[in-house]
């Protein structure tokens, strides 16, 4: 969607990691030796990850493996204690300016949608563009309607989130993130709180988004989605990246025993 990556200022030295599988090869995100503790609990252990612009990653793993924490570190909803995270060349540290900049580049979709219940759907979509990006109101509303059409619910614009179904709410949440014109989208189990019938409508939107070239990092257990969309699948357990591969090899030829066990359990039914 956004290809003019003019703010890309990271040092070329960081660009020597895994070869890009897709996209234009520009580095979008990098995590170097990231460690995080919740109190005494070591939740992320030596995470190294590089994502290129346009790449789609699916992160899976058992609950408690740290996958949500990992993507929440990328926009500083969680703070990491060791290592470096940089997004679009902006390093995440205690500098609030950097945090704000990163959050403007990174969109996030939550498991429980987290729409603002006191605002209409349209207001949910325009709030951040107007107040954070300083977009004029009519322009923000035009853009909001554009994205509502893309998630196929422009007719719900005047309703409140509480009046929509779960699937519709999640699509509004995706549109709300897109209104900020992010360069990266993070998805934290976007379909886990949905009724089975509504999962498809949300996944369809995500697939379409992927086709348009958005850089995506999805924590999800939708293995069908991973097969069709992902450039790389990452399997995490115990706070570590256990295995990382293209979906073809990941599903058909897993290397690690832990991955084999996990796959046999989720794919057995």
């Amino acid at each position: 969607m956004e290809n003019g990556n003019t703010e890309n200022t990271e040092k070329p030295a960081q660009n020597g990691g895994a070869p890009p599988q897709n996209g234009n090869g520009e580095m979008c995100m990098s995590l170097n030796a990231v460690n995080k503790w919740y109190g005494e609990f070591h939740v992320l252990r030596d995470i190294n990850l590089e994502v290129c612009t346009g790449e789609k990653l699916v992160v899976c793993g058992p609950s408690g493996s740290g996958k949500s924490t990992l993507i929440r570190c990328i926009n500083r909803l969680e703070e990491h204690q060791e290592g470096r995270i940089s997004v679009n060349g902006i390093e995440l540290n205690d500098d609030l300016k950097h945090i704000d900049e990163v959050r403007r580049e990174v969109g996030m979709v939550f498991q429980h949608f987290n729409l603002f219940p006191h605002l209409t759907v349209l207001q949910n979509l325009t709030l951040a563009p107007i107040w954070v990006r300083k977009t004029p109101k009519n322009e923000a509303e035009e853009m909001a309607m554009h994205f509502l059409k893309r998630v196929k619910i422009p007719e719900q614009a005047a309703k409140y989130p509480g009046q929509l179904s779960g699937g519709q709410q999640q699509r509004v949440a995706i549109a709300r993130s897109l209104c900020m014109k992010p360069k990266v989208m993070l998805f934290d189990e976007p379909t886990s709180a949905l009724d089975p019938e509504m999962i498809k409508e949300v996944l369809d939107v995500m697939v379409e988004l992927a086709r348009e070239g958005m850089t995506m990092l999805c924590v999800t257990h939708e293995m069908g989605f991973a097969r069709t969309v992902a450039d790389r699948v990452i399997f995490m357990d115990e706070g570590q990246i256990v295995e990382e591969n293209n979906p073809e090899d990941f599903f058909n030829n897993p290397q690690n025993d832990r991955t084999k066990l996990f796959l046999s359990q989720i794919l057995s039914h």
Binding site: R76, L77, F113, H118, G162
Partner: protein, 380 residues
């Protein structure tokens, strides 16, 4: 059963004894022998209390004339005794004193000033209740930030070159109104700040806010007023004459802000963590997150608690009698103790109570209407 056809059973009316007036009486008044007994007892009690009360309040009451003689009647043995009903003549004669205090009841040519002030206030409030009125926020801001100066100028008089009615001559309902509204208007923003501060990540701010809130909550308002009136001046040089009403207002506002902060904190805690995270993820800073996402929801949740504390504050203003201010209650007591109207304190209290009831009930109803209006049908 491939060919079975579904035929719905036609709906029948509910049994007569379960719906309508009869159903209501059965369900609510006579549902068990004990309930039936209680209903009878309540009816007997109402019959014993309500008719005599109405007699005293209205049917036998006196409101004519302007002297105490109207409320007297000749008894059986020719002595002059009190008439059987209430003596509203007293309230009528002393009405201006009860409403605006002694300065205005003694300077009738100036009474237009508080009357105009109240008329302006009511006139400004009306559009807030009109659904189609668009500039509610602007008008509300004027009422909060602009109107107090208009009111002060009118009632005090110095700025407009009118005869000066100093604050220590203010009294009656007008003083109650000023104390309560300054307390409410001042306590809300302070309460919001302290509620946010108490949940701050920054330890120093959080500790300060906790100390502030707990300190005010630990002291009774009487102590606060007493300290504001008698101890505060000791800290200032003797030539600084700090206005007594202003001191009471400051004391009440700070005291009230602690309670408002706690009511709002309840709302903040009821909010889902996801709301904060979504706002963070969209890049709102702290103040925009608080103002656009968190507070609109938290304040709505805490409306009952906030209004509850405001109603308490409105009634607590009567405590200013401890520092020698004559609010409505104190003024009514004083009036009923004047030599002329001695003995009519029941009338004074009933009148005071009904004024308080009207305002407290009004606030309560308004908060309920606000809750309904702000309900947007979300489940969480």
């Amino acid at each position: 059963m491939a060919g079975a056809v579904f035929t719905p059973i036609a709906a029948r009316p509910a049994p007569a004894a379960t719906v309508g007036a009869l159903g209501w009486v059965r369900a609510n008044l006579l549902s068990s022998p004990i309930n039936a007994l209680l209903t009878l007892a309540a009816l007997y009690f109402a019959w014993k209390v309500i008719p005599p009360s109405l007699d005293w309040l209205f049917f036998n009451a006196t409101i004519s004339g302007g002297t105490v003689a109207e409320c007297k009647t000749a008894g059986e043995d020719g002595l002059i005794v009190d008439a059987p009903g209430a003596c509203w003549t007293f309230v009528k004669v002393r009405f201006l004193q009860l409403m605006f205090g002694l300065y205005y009841s003694g300077n009738l040519d100036q009474v237009w000033r508080p009357v105009l002030m109240f008329a302006l206030f009511v006139g400004l409030m009306i559009p807030l209740f009109v659904r189609s009125f668009r500039k509610k926020l602007l008008l509300g801001a004027f009422i909060v930030f602009g109107f107090p100066f208009v009111a002060y100028a009118l009632v005090h008089g110095e700025w407009l070159g009118l005869p000066v009615a100093d604050t220590d001559q203010w009294g009656g309902f007008m003083l109650t109104f000023f104390l309560a509204s300054v307390g409410i208007v001042g306590a809300l923003p302070l309460g919001i700040l302290f509620a946010l501060g108490r949940r701050s990540q920054m330890p120093v701010i959080r500790a300060f806010c906790i100390f502030y809130i707990e300190m005010w909550r630990a002291a009774p308002l009487i102590t606060v007023l007493y300290m504001a009136s008698n101890l505060l001046p000791l800290f200032f040089p003797s030539e600084v004459d700090f206005d007594k009403v202003a001191r009471a207002m400051i004391g009440i506002t700070l005291f009230q802000s602690a309670y408002t902060a706690e009511a709002i904190r309840g709302g903040l805690q009821a909010l889902d963590r996801g709301q904060f995270e979504a706002a963070d993820a969209l890049g709102f800073g702290f103040w925009k997150k608080s103002g656009l996402v968190v507070l609109p929801q938290a304040l709505k949740i805490s409306i009952p608690g906030i209004v509850n504390s405001f109603i308490e504050l409105f009634k607590d203003t009567t405590l200013v009698l401890i520092i020698g201010l004559f609010d409505l209650l104190n003024m009514a007591e004083t009036a009923s103790r004047s030599p002329e109207w001695k003995g009519y304190d029941l009338e004074a209290y009933v009148f005071t109570a009904s004024v308080f009831f009207v305002f407290c009930f009004g606030m309560s109803k308004y908060s309920q209407a606000l809750e309904r209006k702000l309900h947007t049908g979300h489940a969480r």
